[in-house]
Symmetry: C2
């Protein structure tokens, strides 16, 4: 039973390769067939592993997808946070424009929508979705706004948590409801309006 | 075949009674069993009508639910719009607190969540969801903000459409993601922060 032997470097490498193949396959497939029709069997086939390998590591397809997106959140880009050029308006526009581009890319958007929909319908999944994906996303904005406070560009008494919701809630609403285009123009106007609320009181 | 005869007052009254019973049954049932398990058969049984009556009037369970919520949107309360006491901050807090109460009521929240989730997963349904439910909701806010512009309390150059998204997007995000409590406190802080963005420029 290779899976229970002490891990040699080779086994570890093979496991990590399988894990990454499974996560990648889950993202691809949910984009192609939707969350409802996504199956562990299909993920296994696409990843070139046995389905028992998946069941050994994850309890459900939702858990696989959550891990796939958690990898994205942990990736270099996200860890680097929001740039701080000293110009908070420009920096927030840069990152919100990039987010708009990301949500216009079906390879990202389709699986993320599937996960958001599944979470909205399931309180337990929602708790993990928020803790593992949404909160780390808000944290990078909070860090940038805090730097803005130190630079005197943001009200020192601002509720930074609520501020990030004011900045990102309208984006999520447009996206989930498909109620308007996620353009650079929208990103810019949203940042400008939010910063009027965040500015130091005159 | 009574359904194809010219409508006498009696038939009309009976039809209207059946229609209302069907809409009410759909709201109750989706709250009890969820959208996935909701069936036309169960709605018909609860409403005391034959399922053919439902199929004659609606193409799908989503269509029934959409009509049920459209009734709510068309109800007196909504048609009256947001109160205008002359104090825009107080008026927006009143209505957003009432909305928070509404979303804390499972009889409203569960079926509305089911519809929002179904819409997020289905672009065609989303188009109707936005046009028939979200847009009329935004319009009453836009009307109140416009009155605020005329009263000199709101920036005359403000993009009122984007402003309503800034006010309501954070509310929807918290609600759908269950990422925070929908309290009167939250409603008040959100209105206060949004109004800082909406105020006339100094």
């Amino acid at each position: 039973m290779p899976s229970t032997t002490a891990k040699t470097p080779d086994v570890s490498r093979r496991s990590e390769r399988s894990r990454k193949a499974i996560l990648r396959a889950s993202m691809e497939l949910v984009g192609e067939v939707g969350y409802t029709k996504l199956t562990i069997e299909a993920i296994a086939a696409r990843a070139g592993v046995g389905k028992q390998t998946i069941y050994r590591w994850w309890p459900s397809k939702a858990a696989v997808l959550l891990d796939a997106f958690t990898e994205v959140v942990r990736s270099e880009d996200y860890q680097a946070g929001i740039p701080d050029t000293g110009d908070i308006e420009a920096d927030l526009k840069t990152v919100l424009r990039a987010t708009a581009d990301e949500f216009s890319d079906a390879a990202f958007e389709a699986p993320y929508r599937a996960l958001a929909v599944a979470s909205a319908a399931d309180a337990e999944l929602a708790e993990q979705f928020v803790r593992r994906l949404q909160e780390p996303g808000l944290e990078v904005y909070i860090a940038r706004l805090r730097a803005g406070q130190q630079a005197g560009q943001i009200d020192p008494d601002l509720d930074l948590r609520l501020a990030t919701e004011v900045l990102l809630g309208p984006f999520q609403q447009r996206w989930l409801n498909r109620s308007g285009p996620l353009t650079h123009e929208f990103a810019d106007r949203l940042v400008e309006m939010a910063l009027r609320a965040f500015a130091p009181r005159a």
